[in-house]
Amino acid sequence: MADVAWLIPLLPFVAFAINGVFGRKYLKKHTGLIANAGVLGALVVSVALFIAQLDHAEPQSVTLWTWAVSGDFALDIALRVDALTLVMLLVVTSVSFMVHVYSIGYMEHDPGFWRFFTYLPLFVFAMIMLVMANNLLVLFVFWEAVGLCSYLLIGFWFERQSASAAAVKAFLTNRIGDVGFLIGLLLAWYVFGTLDYDEIFAQAPAVAAATPGMLTIICLLLFVGAMGKSAQFPLHVWLPDAMEGPTPVSALIHAATMVTAGVYMVARFNPLYVLSSNAMAVVAIVGAFTALFAATIGLAQNDIKRVLAYSTVSQLGLMFMALGVGAFTAAIFHLATHAFFKGLLFLGSGSVIHGTNEEQDMQRMGGLFGKMPVTGSTYIIGGLALSGIIPLAGFWSKDELLGATLLAGGMGYLLYALGASASFLTAIYTFRMIFLTFFGKTRMETGRFSHVHESPRVMTIPLIVLAVGAALAGFVGVPPEHGLIHDYLHDTFIAAELAGLVHKPSTAFVLGVMAVSTLIALVGILIAYSIFMRKSPAPETVAGRAGPLHTLLVNKYFLDDFYDTVLAGGTRGVGWLFAWFDLNIVDGLVNLIGLIVSGVGGGLRRMQTGRLENYAFSVVLGTALVLAFYIIMVR
């Protein structure tokens, strides 16, 4: 069955190729159908593959061709099919398909329609290859390829300077992470002599015993790559800016799939990470810190998409936190549920933007529920899932990973505190967003408000489908620790169990954590309700009391400005210095040599008087000298 695995990436790629070559001149609006067909095909094959392998998800690989052989370095392009891949494939293809369908409606009037439906299947192709990669290099190749698609799609409306700037920023920030990844990859080859997953995993214990430091360094470097792609502090700055792209892109790439690549990667390398407790600790702390850090910023943003973006950063942080304590299954579980409800929220916000004629500022919305009932209700489902209200999808997964931190003990308590605070804030900003957008009195001008309309079916149906997913997807993880997904991924993450990182919780413990989580979420929602609906205290009062903290949050802790001036400005400064040095010193030296030569030539030129007797004189002088030399020296 794995023999048809190559169809999964191929179908979106074919769609990309067709649209790319013929889209502009011939296909035009039909590109949407072709892209949808390609992604649907991938989805169907993935589901078929999943069903066929439901019982025995043995890792299999399909070698396609040899990439390069040089000395000891030999690398095949191969596809891998195992439990983790299949889970990821399902998430990626299903959300992708929904977004594709939705985009037909959302992008309908855009002149770059064909371009959009060229980039989007390309991204799907790259993402599929990323999760199907069988070795580090292929992973890296498509790691960068999804980054490229992200670049292309963020800068989709290239006439906007801000879009282009955001695209470049995203690419460069990702590149910084990728450099870490690349160095880790090169070190991995240096240490293991191979880039193949299974071979690396097989050698990992021996290497860990021999040079534990090296293993930690490799893990950390790979994690730097994950930080870039999954927007973890301090490389998170690109993701909020990435909202310059069309909203379906934000839903697909910057919420559901690409940004989770980092989580996937760390999970994929679980046999490596479990061998290095230091690396695990770093992952957990970075994740937990990012979760809280981004959630605080999310409180103070007014752009509906930016709130979601910081929320995504925060949720990704939770996943990393789970990874860091060895709860790989919980992380992947949360990844899957997050893909559904965050995809839903983004598409919903897109629907709002579409319906309000390109309004993104929540301060100028309000009272939209009546105008957009489908969008509104699905959005609330997504919001509840994100806040972690039982029994929606987000609840089960978030609860599980919070529980895992507690079980880890030691540092885990701190992590739990960070994670729980993050979920508390999540509930607040999520419902702040919902209340500001859909409820209360509208703050739109009447003329514009009257034109607000519900989106067409091609957009609402994906919303409904995703809402169902957001509501029910959690049940694959029910009962906690023994759900379908746990069994399915059990073998993949066996390393964590062997390393003693998995602790079996008691039923009382599970129920206790669930109760606390629900309580936290409910309190958060209530606070949001009281501030933003009841206005007691009014939002302005809260902001005023927070004072400098509020300023800090609105300005995202001034981190972007810091990067702009210090890093970008510093690089430019050094570049300017070097350019000056090159032009004046290096080239100056070259020209100086030229000047010296021509100066000496000019001096010698004067000796050419043009007078015969001077020349004759010098001949005679020379003869006399030669003879003198002969007489004195030779004889």
Binding site: M607, Q608, T609, G610, R611, L612, E613, A616, F617, V620
Partner: protein, 102 residues
């Protein structure tokens, strides 16, 4: 056998040669410069013949014949150049002929 000794002839040749050389270096009149060149050739001829006799080898004398030929050819061509030059430039002053100036 050669009387007086070969060295005397060589010194005579050298003297003529040097005088001719000085003429070339010192005089400004092109015609006299040419005559000085003839002096140089004459100095060389003396040396040739001196060696030819001292070494019992007629080649030296034969060479003087060639030297004479060259002298004649040089005089003919050189004077023709002088004629052409003086027509062109109205001067025989070497100082004024410095087209080679760099």
């Amino acid at each position: 056998m050669i009387i007086p000794a070969l060295e005397y002839y060589l010194v005579l040749g050298a003297a003529l040669f040097i005088i001719g050389l000085l003429g070339v270096l010192v005089r400004r009149n092109l015609l006299i410069v040419f005559m000085s060149i003839e002096l140089i050739l004459l100095g060389a001829n003396v040396t040739f013949v001196g060696f030819a006799v001292a070494l019992d080898n007629m080649l030296g004398q034969a060479f003087v014949i060639f030297s004479l030929t060259v002298a004649a050819a040089e005089a003919a061509v050189g004077l023709a150049i002088i004629v052409a030059l003086s027509r062109h430039r109205d001067t025989l002053n070497v100082d004024e002929i410095n087209t080679l100036k760099g």
